[in-house]
Symmetry: C2
Subunit: 403 residues, 2 copies
Amino acid sequence: MATEINWDGRFARRASLMKRSAVREILKVASRPEIISFAGGLPAAHLFPMRRVKAALMTVINRVGPEVLQYSRTEGITELRDWLAQHFSTRRFQVNRENVLITTGGQQALDLLGRILLDEGDKVVVENPTYLALLSAWRPTGAKFLPISGDASGMRVEELEPLLKQKPKAIYCVPNFQNPRGTTLTLSRRRRLLESARRYSVIVVEDDPYGELRYGEKALPGLLQLDARNRGPEDLDSRVIHVGTFSKVLMPGLRIGWVIAPRAVIDKLTQAKQAADLHTSTLDQHLAFELVTTGFLDEFLPVLQLHYAARRDAMLGALEKYFPKDATWTKPDGGMFVMVTLPNINAGELLPKALKAGVAYVPGEEFHMDGQGKNTMRLNFTNAPPNRIEAGIKALAGVLPCG
Amino acid sequence: MATEINWDGRFARRASLMKRSAVREILKVASRPEIISFAGGLPAAHLFPMRRVKAALMTVINRVGPEVLQYSRTEGITELRDWLAQHFSTRRFQVNRENVLITTGGQQALDLLGRILLDEGDKVVVENPTYLALLSAWRPTGAKFLPISGDASGMRVEELEPLLKQKPKAIYCVPNFQNPRGTTLTLSRRRRLLESARRYSVIVVEDDPYGELRYGEKALPGLLQLDARNRGPEDLDSRVIHVGTFSKVLMPGLRIGWVIAPRAVIDKLTQAKQAADLHTSTLDQHLAFELVTTGFLDEFLPVLQLHYAARRDAMLGALEKYFPKDATWTKPDGGMFVMVTLPNINAGELLPKALKAGVAYVPGEEFHMDGQGKNTMRLNFTNAPPNRIEAGIKALAGVLPCG
């Protein structure tokens, strides 16, 4: 009955803009136990307090009953939306339930934003290098990325002006401990970014997965905090659309993210989400709510911060000790990543040798939208203990031609 | 700092094709406890065996450990993909792990298929009326729906020919206990549909959420079963892309669906899913796997079938007893819905009166893509016990002008 179909000829034009993420392909190799992997962006699962999770699950099932496994609202469960609304409210402005959408991880928030905001040919200003899966999510809309470079103080906001003259629809920004560089946008640049966005009437998408993974300095106010005010009792006025996630501070397997934005944006995103997956897992939402309202973050975050800070220190120390003098790297105050710049070495070509020596990383070129960064590598420091990090950096230094 | 933005002017053209689902809006009203709701498509949550679920969660957490909350593969966890591959294999053909993608509910499967298959202007043959959220998912691609009507034996496959001459990209078909009509495509029509699809080289999307909710007759072979064969040891050859879900047979709150298809399709869908939400909840996938591999379906499905059959009988009996002689309705052998055709009464205009009388339903017009069906209503029979169903149909008959 059947015939072989040439499927490649059947896919939509848009589908040709989709690519398998090279990072996820590297991760498959890197997950072999003999490899010391700096490739992923994985939290340290052995720190997850499983006894707490079990107890929370039992509590939730007893309290909510069978509805914990039933269909639920597209917008998210009311309890969790209210908790987030309160969490993001400040003395200056109030976030309401209607300003909150729960998404299936932060990734879905970015995907839905691309779908409701971007038409073919629209322009978006994006720091170069940037979060790879943002590019994957927004590329199929046919949008064009306008790259802007960064330095130790984050996106070079001084260079925004000529890009904004090209009338982009949005600026995408990861202000805290950016992926892949680990850098943080300074307060003065945050203010300047918002001033420019206002002058040119551009939307700002603030993606903040790492903000709570802070190992030193006090937190800087976020872009939403700096921009938002209340329009009336029931709505926010802000050109900032804030995206967040529990993936880095609770557990990523739950896939719970969110958007904080004016009502009109949340309404349109809700329509898009209805069509995308009806709603986010009811069970996972209730579990996350139970954890955050019973002090889980207060207990667990300091533990994470302590461990991750030690791992970052181990990585920076080992780089100092083993890497050649003409290599440089970022010094993140938080997050999960260090980016190394090598002297005239192609990090992509080096990868097979590194894997053979038992170490994995992601070539920095992957995060660039213009083929730059060939001599850079992204190193994750959250998923291995300090001694393994030191051993991995030593092994990696051993395969550098100039090592 | 902020300024009010006119958000409506900022959304993408595609976003104007998105609409808030009227059904979900009706559901908000219908969820008030005093209302007897025939509006949703909700399973009966009080039947969920919560003790089993609790035990399964503990087993899974003990067995898998912290990885149960860690990031996992976009394609889905290996165990569950293997289980589904085996479940869908027959004596005639073998489904392999590489032919399976786990999705965030069946809805995401439909959404991703729209994204990889449909370009603006592409045509899709769809039974009229059909599953509302399929239209919501595929409309923003700019695809055009070619409606084909149905009768008691499902889609009128005899009328396909002229539509296929318009070179549609795909036929979307819910062969078993279709939503909203509850009708089932006969075996001869299944064969004929596949023959026509083959002759015109059209893809068939088989959406089968209700197939296991069968209250009488033996199951008919599905479209995938009728069409597929093996291309080689590692791949399927089929023009049928099969979509399924655990939402109706386990619990919808878990959001676990899947696609069974040739490798090339699964590969492209995986790329789309990476960008859409990285992966489906790891915890929920493991819970579903634990339930299905420990005999849960063998125990639970007969219970569901027994209860739902009694509820269907209660609804059909009450319609016979209370509804006017010139009304007609479908007589489903499974699934969740009955569709009533009223003599010259606008079911949408009647709804406020019905709600006042304490009964909710969805006007059938919602499921039509051409404004037809104004005199029809979709009635769900799975979410209320027989006595409430009888009371609800009686109350509904009371507000019919000709009642």
